[in-house]
């Protein structure tokens, strides 16, 4: 595991279930479409405040959206 990226998330699945585009989700979260894409593809681990906003928006506990990655580095 490296410090760089160790979170996995279900953001893309949850977004697709609601039929939202990345821009739609970004608007609802107050971030850019590129930010949503960076989180979905694992290029950016969200801050705690943003992770809480995501959890509130999807009405799920944070751990149902984000989980620890499987890498052993």
């Amino acid at each position: 595991m490296t410090w760089e990226q160790w979170l996995e998330n279900r953001l893309r699945v949850l977004r697709a279930e609601r039929g939202w585009s990345q821009a739609e989700l970004g608007g609802r979260l107050g971030v850019s479409r590129q930010a949503v894409n960076a989180i979905e593809t694992g290029k950016h681990d969200p801050s705690l405040p943003l992770a809480f906003r995501i959890a509130r928006l999807f009405e799920l506990p944070i751990e149902d959206i984000f989980s620890e990655g499987n890498s052993n580095g």
Partner: protein, 140 residues
Amino acid sequence: MGEGEQLHARRRRKFWIILGSLALLGAIAGFFSGFTVGLADAKGAEVSAGMRALGAAGILLLAAATAFGSWKFFTSVDEVEVADNLWASLIGFYAYAILFPAWWLLARIRLIGSPDEWVIYGVAMLTATAAYLYRKWQSR
């Protein structure tokens, strides 16, 4: 267009208005300060006090616009944009921190000439810009 997409579009518009205003202000200030510096270079000590004051005002305006613009920019963007800027700044700083002493040491053993501050500044800025664009390309 959904509610979120409307908010997103509004947010993007605000971002580009801030960036556009800053670019315009920077261009105006840069023109006046650059014009006066060019005049000073051409005329030496013959530049009038009024022209010097105009140049100084342009440079001050440029510095103030950069400081205010940076504050406005960083308070309106999201955390990914901030992270991209931080990474780009760090990599740009590394370019400077490696290039200057390496060049200085090579100059000390007379392999090359003395360090050129504008070349080092340019390389640091270009490296930071390349790092920023690479991160933007990654999350496009």
